[in-house]
C-alpha cells in the first residue's frame, strides 16, 4: 500500500464501505443494537420482531457500515447463508440471559462457521453478549466457553458484553470490528 493511501487514511480522507451481517437468535437484540447506531431522528421508539431482514447504514471512523439485520426467527434463519458471500464482517448477537438456548446459538454458529462461503475466509466475527443488565445474564467469559469460541482458529473474533438499550459496550465492539476490517481489507490488496 502506497504512502499516499496511508496518509489519506490517517487524515481521514479515505472512506470504505463494508457489508456486515448481523445474526443471532430471535429476541437477542439485533435490531435494538443497530437502532442505537442510527441518528437521533431516525431512531425507532419501538422494536418489533424483524421479518426477513432490514438494511441499516451507520458510520464508524471512516468506515461506512451497511448492516444486514437478519431476522432470528427459526423460519427465517435459512436466509442467513445467502448473504455470507458478500459480507466483510459478522456480528453475532447472543442473549446472555437465555441459558436454555445457548445450544441453539452454538448450533447456528457452528453451521455458520462451517458454511463454504465463510469457512475459508479470514472474516472477523464480533460477538455481543447482549442483555448484560438482566439479572440472570451470564458473563462474556462463560458465554465464550459455552459457545466454544476458543475453537475458532482461523478467524479473528472478539466478544464483549453489551446492553443494546443503553448502548453500553457497543462502541467498544464496533471499534474492534472497524480495526479488523481495515486490516482485512488491507491484507487483501
Amino acid at each position: 500500500m502506497g504512502i499516499f493511501d496511508k496518509l489519506a487514511g490517517l487524515l481521514g480522507l479515505r472512506r470504505r464501505e463494508v457489508n456486515v451481517l448481523v445474526v443471532g437468535l430471535d429476541n437477542s437484540g439485533k435490531s435494538t443494537l443497530l437502532n442505537h447506531f442510527k441518528s437521533e431522528d431516525s431512531k425507532s421508539s419501538e422494536i418489533v420482531p424483524t421479518i426477513g431482514f432490514n438494511v441499516e447504514k451507520f458510520q464508524n471512523k471512516n468506515v461506512g457500515f451497511t448492516a444486514f439485520d437478519m431476522s432470528g426467527q427459526g423460519r427465517y434463519r435459512s436466509l442467513w447463508e445467502h448473504y455470507y458471500r458478500d459480507c466483510q464482517g459478522i456480528i453475532f448477537v447472543i442473549d446472555s440471559s437465555d441459558k436454555l438456548r445457548f445450544v441453539v446459538a452454538k448450533d447456528e454458529l457452528d453451521t455458520l462457521l462451517q458454511h463454504p462461503d465463510i469457512a475459508n475466509r479470514r472474516i472477523p466475527v464480533l460477538f455481543f453478549a447482549n442483555k448484560m443488565d438482566v439479572k440472570e445474564a451470564m458473563s462474556a467469559v462463560k458465554i465464550s466457553a459455552a459457545l466454544g469460541l476458543d475453537r475458532i482458529s482461523n478467524k479473528p473474533w472478539h466478544i464483549c458484553a453489551s446492553n443494546a438499550i443503553t448502548g453500553e459496550g457497543l462502541q467498544e465492539g464496533v471499534e474492534w470490528l472497524t480495526g479488523q476490517i481495515w486490516e482485512y481489507v488491507d491484507r487483501r490488496r
Binding site: 437468535l25 430471535d26 429476541n27 427459526g74 423460519r75 434463519r77 435459512s78 440471559s97 437465555d98 441459558k99 436454555l100 438456548r101 445457548f102 445450544v103 441453539v104 452454538k106 448450533d107 447456528e108 453451521t111 440472570e136
Partner: protein, 552 residues
C-alpha cells in the same frame, strides 16, 4: 450411514425430583412475553406434598403447593383481556383449581353424585355393626363398589376389629359420593388460534365427560380435536380398554382394544393408541386398524409432535427402557433419543422461545429439555428396513387344512387347472364384451335453457383421461342417446353422434325438447352415452326438467 444428531441438549437437571404423570406437563406463555414457561404438576413423594412447579428457562421460577394429588394440568385462555394471560387449570380429586398469575383464582367443584336410596336407608336404620356390614356387602354385590359412597367403601375394606372405631369416628359425617376427575383436556371454543378462548373437557370417575356425555366406563385418556362451537371430535380410552369417539352430543364405542391403553393421540383423521403389550396402533376414525408397530420395551407415555413449520405430524413414544422414539403417521420410526431411566412424562411444544422443544421427565425425577435442530431431517431410517428384510422370515407351521388342500390339489390337478382356465376365459370374455364404465373416462354436463314449452338441452361431453403421457388416448365411436317419456316430451334429434374426443376438450351438443304435456308437468330425461355396437351404456345422466310454462 452416519446419522446426524437431531436434538440439542438444552438443559438437564438430574436433581429436579419431579415425579409426575404424562398429563401433568404443559407449557404456556404465562407472563404474556413470548417466553413460554414449563408447568409441571408434581405428585410429590409420600413426605413432600404435591406441587405445581413452573420453570422459566433453565431454572425453577416458582412453586405452588397443591391441596391434593393432581391428575392433570391444562393451561388455557378463559377471557379476552389484554395482555393475553392464560390460566392454569389443575384437576385434583373432585376439584378443578384455576390459577391465574400463579395465584389461586377460583375453584370449581364437580357436582356430587346421587346416593343410592337403599344405601341411605341402610345407614339411617342400622342397629348393629354386623347387620350394617352384611347389608352393605349385599348392596355392593348388587350395584358395584363404585356406586357406593366413600364412607361405605371405606367400611367395607376394613378388618373387623377396626370397624367399630371407624363407625364411632364417622358417626356424624354425612354420606357423600364425590365425583373424581380422571382426565382433562382443552378444546378451543370458536377460533383455531393459539390464544383463542378454550373450554375444559373433563373426564370423571362416574363415567362422564363434561360436555355432558355419559360413557359406559371410566375414561382414562382423553384427546380432542376441532372447535367446540363448530365441530369437534374427542377420543377417549377407558379403563377396561374401550376406545370411544365422541362428537357434539353423542359418544359411541369405536372398538375394544386388545390390551389396556397407555396413551391416546387424536389426530384429524386417525387415532394413535399405545397399548400395554408394547405396541403402537393407528386406527382410522371409522375404527379400522391402519397399522400396528411393536416397540422394544413397554410404552410409558405417548405425545403428539406437531412441527408446524414443516407441516409434519409425528408421535413421540416414551419407553420403559429410557428411549424416546418418534414415529411418523405411517408407523415408521424416524429417530430415537436415549435416556438412562424409564420415561414418566413427555411433552413437545414451545418452551422458552423455542417452538420445537421436547420435555422429558424420567421416573428417577430428572428433567431433560431437548431442542430440535433446524437442520433435523425426518426421513425414515431406511437402514432399519434393510435389516428387517435380511432377518429370517417367521413361517408358521403347516396346518392340517393346508396339508389337506395340497393333497386335494395334487390329486385333482387337471380339474383344478381346467377350472382356472375357465375362470380366465370368462374374465376375458367379460372384458371384451361388456366393458365396465370405469374404463372410459368421460364427463358429462348438461344444462337446460328456456322456460317452456320449448327447451334446449345443452350437453357437454369431455374426455377426462390424462392430458399427456402414456395413458393419454382419444375416445371415438361414442353416441348420446336420449330416453324420455313420450307423454311428456318430444326430443329431436333423439341420437347424437359424438366425434373423436381429445382429452380435456369439452364438446357441446344441443337437443331441442318440446313439452307436450297440457298441464306443463315436468319429467326426467335420461341421457345415455353409448359406444357404438355395444349394448352396455358407458354413462347415464338424468336431467330433471323444470315445469313448463303453459301456452293458452
Amino acid at each position: 450411514m452416519e446419522r446426524h444428531e437431531m436434538w440439542l441438549d438444552a438443559f438437564s437437571d438430574t436433581q429436579a425430583t419431579i415425579y409426575t404423570f404424562p398429563n401433568c406437563v404443559a407449557t404456556a406463555d404465562l407472563a404474556g412475553d413470548g417466553d413460554y414457561r414449563l408447568i409441571i404438576a408434581d405428585i410429590g413423594t409420600g413426605t413432600i406434598p404435591s406441587k405445581l412447579k413452573v420453570y422459566k428457562g433453565t431454572g425453577l421460577q416458582s412453586e405452588v403447593t397443591l391441596q391434593d394429588i393432581p391428575t392433570a394440568v391444562a393451561p388455557m385462555f378463559i377471557d379476552n383481556d389484554s395482555p393475553r394471560l392464560p390460566v392454569i387449570t389443575v384437576g385434583t380429586s373432585e376439584y378443578i383449581y384455576v390459577y391465574k398469575n400463579l395465584r389461586p383464582f377460583f375453584r370449581a367443584v364437580l357436582p356430587p353424585l346421587q346416593i343410592n336410596s337403599v344405601e341411605r336407608d341402610i345407614w339411617g336404620q342400622y342397629d348393629s355393626e354386623e347387620t350394617l356390614f352384611e347389608l352393605l356387602k349385599n348392596l355392593r354385590s348388587q350395584i358395584g363398589m363404585s356406586a357406593l359412597t366413600l364412607k361405605s367403601q371405606h367400611l367395607l375394606t376394613l378388618p373387623q376389629h377396626e370397624r367399630h372405631s371407624f363407625l364411632e369416628a364417622h358417626k356424624g359425617t354425612p354420606l357423600v359420593r364425590k365425583n373424581i376427575v380422571t382426565c382433562l383436556s382443552t378444546l378451543r371454543k370458536s377460533h383455531n388460534e393459539d390464544d383463542a378462548l378454550a373450554c375444559l373437557v373433563i373426564g370423571t370417575e362416574n363415567c362422564e365427560i363434561f360436555a355432558k356425555l355419559t360413557l359406559s366406563d371410566v375414561p382414562v385418556f382423553l384427546s380432542t380435536a376441532g372447535l367446540f362451537d363448530i365441530d369437534y371430535t374427542l377420543t377417549c380410552t377407558t379403563r377396561s380398554g374401550q376406545l370411544l369417539i365422541g362428537r357434539r352430543g353423542w359418544v359411541s364405542p369405536l372398538l375394544s382394544l386388545s390390551k389396556p391403553p397407555v396413551g391416546v393421540v387424536c389426530l384429524d383423521t386417525s387415532i394413535i393408541v399405545a397399548l400395554m403389550d408394547a405396541t403402537l396402533n393407528c386406527y382410522s376414525d371409522k375404527g379400522c386398524r391402519v397399522w400396528t408397530v411393536p416397540v422394544v420395551s413397554p410404552i410409558t407415555c405417548l405425545y403428539r409432535v406437531h412441527l408446524r413449520q414443516r407441516n409434519l405430524e409425528m408421535v413421540a413414544v416414551g419407553l420403559h427402557n429410557g428411549h424416546v422414539s418418534l414415529y411418523t403417521l405411517s408407523g415408521e420410526c424416524t429417530d430415537t433419543i436415549f435416556f438412562n431411566e424409564p420415561i414418566s412424562a413427555l411433552y413437545f411444544g414451545q418452551y422458552g422461545r423455542e417452538c420445537s422443544s421436547m420435555i422429558c421427565v424420567t421416573q428417577g425425577g430428572s428433567l431433560h429439555v431437548k431442542i430440535l435442530k433446524r437442520s433435523a431431517d425426518f426421513t425414515p431410517e431406511l437402514k432399519e428396513k434393510g435389516a428387517g428384510a435380511m432377518a429370517k422370515l417367521q413361517i408358521p407351521k403347516k396346518t392340517k387344512l393346508f396339508v389337506d388342500q395340497t393333497m386335494r390339489e395334487r390329486e385333482n390337478s387337471i380339474d383344478a387347472f381346467r377350472m382356472k382356465l375357465a375362470t380366465a376365459r370368462t374374465l376375458v370374455h367379460v372384458l371384451n364384451t361388456k366393458q365396465s364404465p370405469i374404463q372410459e373416462s368421460v364427463k358429462l354436463s348438461a344444462e337446460v335453457l328456456g322456460l317452456g314449452p320449448s327447451f334446449v338441452v345443452r350437453i357437454g361431453v369431455m374426455n377426462i383421461g390424462p392430458k399427456s403421457g402414456a395413458g393419454s388416448t382419444g375416445i371415438s365411436d361414442l353416441a348420446l342417446f336420449f330416453h324420455w317419456n313420450d307423454k311428456f316430451y318430444d326430443v329431436s334429434p333423439p341420437i347424437i353422434h359424438v366425434p373423436f374426443l381429445v382429452p380435456s376438450v369439452e364438446v357441446k351438443f344441443q337437443a331441442k325438447v318440446e313439452s307436450i304435456n297440457p298441464n306443463g308437468l315436468a319429467d326426467v330425461i335420461r341421457v345415455i352415452v353409448l359406444r357404438k355396437k355395444q349394448a352396455q351404456p358407458i354413462l347415464v345422466a338424468m336431467i330433471n326438467m323444470p315445469p313448463s310454462e303453459i301456452v293458452f
